[in-house]
């Protein structure tokens, strides 16, 4: 059977205009004077995705993942090469595409559904099921501007999933919405797959990619680096990350003294509802996270300093701390040591990386760097910015204060069991 998605020698070039082209100035100036840069977002990519396969695409920001997705969805055409997709495509690049705030949920379902290729009659028949899935109930006849962000996302996803696409292209969208709904979405995606649909997932959420995808492509700088099982691609991804981050991650300002300490595993752990700690790629904001670092000393050490750096998706340092000034203890030659760092994950939704470094206790040299480990934080819907300070809101009244919302008292109620199963 022919491939569901077939890319042959695909390259995509973007032109970045330094100044916006203007009709008047270009006419006045006789020659095109617009300054521009050309960027190859994807280069020489060949790819076949079989019908019914679930395929993942991972890579750093700017690696060409999103461009590849827009190419597969037919939103943009390749500069060179050919892209063929068999069957109806539903891109979940941003759920609720085309939702207009002034229109009711029902009207938006019709607009959105027909954009995804459904006929009016098909939408008529599916409307009830869409409303059920989205759990919007009687709100369906309310303008969507009155919806909560959760309802908005749920309705958008419900429409896309009811378009019964032969090819579903999923972006990071599932990062939003509550846990229960995410479970429902993943279940529905699995159902779609078992009915023969092809799912392409473009994500930072390595945990989700690992669970959902049979085959994963790693892109770097627009070129394919590895295609294989999820484990293989993720391993290659970590190599790419550590190769590119070695200098910034090890930004201790200290001289590197190799062959004194080797760092083995670095793991991010989260607790399930029974209090067991599991290795995970997903963390819910406001819950406790443990960082477990295993190392081996090659020579005797009286003391050492363990430092950790949390990096945002763009590589910026979100947080850094170390044991400097507090004794960790001696480690003999050939001895293993394990360092545990526990912290409350007060971060907004996004992908983060945590890098670990071991320095000498006198803080003169760095002994070892570990490849950054990435994890995804499902943040609270209302939080934006760099950190989640867990503001407790209250209303001051004459008789005292009434709590409006205190996130620290509710956080962690929905456990991360979804990602640990």
């Amino acid at each position: 059977m022919s491939a569901a998605i077939e890319l042959r020698g695909v390259s995509k070039q973007f032109t970045k205009y330094v100044d916006t082209p203007m009709l008047l100035t270009s006419m006045l100036r006789f020659r095109p004077g617009t300054r521009r840069d050309r960027i190859w977002a994807v280069q020489d990519l060949d790819l076949d995705v079989a019908p019914g396969e679930s395929f993942g695409v991972i890579g750093r920001n700017g690696s060409g993942k999103s461009t590849l997705m827009t190419l597969m969805a037919g939103i943009t055409a390749p500069s060179r090469g050919s892209v063929r997709v068999r069957g109806r495509v539903a891109p979940l690049i941003a759920v609720g595409v085309g939702f207009h705030r002034e229109l009711t949920g029902r009207e938006n379902v019709y607009v959105n559904g027909s954009i995804l290729g459904l006929s009016r009659r098909q939408i008529d028949r599916r409307l009830e099921s869409i409303v059920d899935f989205a759990e919007v109930g009687s709100f369906i006849d309310t303008p969507v501007k009155f919806y909560s962000s959760g309802m908005f996302v749920r309705l958008g996803f419900a429409v896309a999933i009811h378009a019964e696409p032969e090819v579903l292209i999923v972006d990071e969208v599932l990062a939003v919405g509550d846990m229960a709904f995410q479970v429902k979405c993943y279940d529905r995606m699995k159902e779609l797959r078992s009915s023969g649909a092809t799912v392409v997932m473009v994500s930072h959420a390595l945990g989700a990619v690992r669970r959902m995808c049979e085959r994963v492509l790693l892109l770097d700088r627009g070129r394919p680096v590895a295609v294989g099982t999820a484990e293989e691609a993720i391993a290659a991804y970590h190599d790419v990350l550590s190769a590119s981050r070695e200098i910034t991650v090890g930004e201790s300002g200290l001289r590197h003294e190799p062959d004194v300490v080797k760092i083995g595993a670095v793991e991010v752990l989260a607790a399930d509802e029974r209090g067991c700690w599991w290795r995970t790629g997903h963390v819910e904001a406001g819950t406790q996270v443990r960082l477990r670092v295993e190392g081996t000393a090659v020579t005797d050490l009286d003391d050492l300093v363990v430092a950790l750096t949390v990096l945002g998706a763009d590589g910026s340092v979100v947080y850094a701390d170390s044991t400097a000034g507090h004794p960790f203890g001696a480690v003999g030659a050939g001895e293993c040591f394990t360092a545990l760092g526990s912290f409350c994950c007060r971060l907004p939704t996004g992908t983060y990386e945590v890098a670990v470094r071991v320095d000498r206790a006198d803080l003169r040299t760095t002994l070892a760097f570990a490849a950054p480990v990435s994890f995804f934080v499902t943040g609270r819907n209302t939080v934006a910015g760099l950190a989640d300070l867990e503001t407790a809101f209250a209303r001051e009244e004459s008789g005292g204060t009434a709590v409006v919302h205190d996130p620290s008292s509710t956080a962690g109620v929905a456990s991360g069991s979804l990602y640990l199963s």
């Binding site: 009709l23 008047l24 270009s26 055409a77 050919s82 063929r84 954009i115 009016r120």
Partner: protein
């Protein structure tokens, strides 16, 4: 019972025709080679999304008028008000030498002009304005400007209704001349679509088209016979009026009420020639750049 079988087969065929996934392998939905789409590809895409035009036009209409207290009334009130202001200003204040039944003359011309101006203003920026949609999902981008051409037809319908209702009150008896409205609307839509298709494609690249269009519309009205009859003009102004693609359209509207003042055949031929050239240019621009507009949004 045997006689029912063909009927049943037909019903089954019809229900599966309605798009539920059949057993046959799905057709190619994306088939791209290089960045140009081509007229054939564009035509197929438009056909596949034919229902979307109506749905988007209805959405646009709802969004535009839902919030206003009088809702749809504004669609009636604005063009009538604007025509009345012009009629009063130019007949009472500026003492223009004009045709008989000046208010009806202005109202009939303005009906056509306002449709053109509103569709062009909205249509030229439509692809950029719809970027939240078009950067995330594919549908032929040509639908966005066409939606503007379609939505504004409602306003035109209302103004024409008001024109027909008001004309007898303003002293103009209407008769068989009203049939001129049919070719009038057809040519108006063709000319408008031509301009809108070209302007919308250019605006994705040249972001100052927005201002070029509003400046052009402002001056354009004065070389279109909506305020004064072309018979009153001479020299370069008359030449401009005769070359104006809208003269033929506006004169067809005049012909339906107060009577045309220039040779209709010549003026309409000019309009149709413009429409043909612009439609060919507009469709070629859209078929070349359909799939790469999103890159510039």
């Amino acid at each position: 019972m045997g006689r029912l079988r063909p009927l049943r087969t037909l019903m089954t065929a019809l229900t599966s025709e309605l798009g539920e996934r059949g057993a046959s392998p799905p057709p190619l939905s994306v088939d791209l080679h290089g960045s140009a789409t081509g007229p054939g590809g564009l035509a197929r895409a438009v056909w596949a999304h034919r229902e979307l035009l109506g749905i988007l036009a209805r959405k646009e209409f709802h969004v535009r008028y839902r919030r206003a207290t009088f809702g749809v009334l504004w669609a009636v009130a604005l063009p009538v008000l604007q025509s009345l202001v012009l009629a009063v200003v130019f007949s009472k204040v500026a003492h223009i030498r004009h045709a008989s039944h000046y208010p009806v003359f202005v109202l009939s011309g303005m009906a056509a002009w306002l449709y053109f101006a509103m569709a062009l203003a909205g249509g030229s920026t439509s692809i950029v304005d719809g970027s939240d949609l078009s950067s995330r999902v594919y549908f032929p981008r040509i639908l966005l400007p066409l939606v503007q051409v379609a939505t504004n037809l409602y306003g035109l319908l209302v103004t024409v209704g008001v024109l027909v209702a008001l004309s007898p009150v303003l002293g103009v008896g209407l008769g068989s001349g009203l049939v001129y409205l049919v070719p009038g609307v057809v040519v108006l839509v063709l000319v408008t679509a031509g301009f809108v298709l070209v302007a919308s494609a250019l605006h994705v690249y040249f972001r100052d088209i927005r201002y070029v269009v509003s400046a052009a519309l402002m001056m354009w009205m004065y070389v279109t016979p909506v305020i004064y009859p072309p018979a009153d003009t001479h020299g370069p102004l008359r030449a401009a009026i005769l070359a104006n693609p809208l003269t033929g359209v506006v004169e067809l509207f005049h012909a339906s009420t107060v009577g045309a003042t220039v040779s209709l055949a010549a003026a309409v031929s000019v309009s149709l020639a413009w429409a043909a050239v612009l439609l060919v240019a507009g469709v070629s621009l859209h078929s070349r750049f359909d799939r790469v507009f999103a890159d510039l949004l």
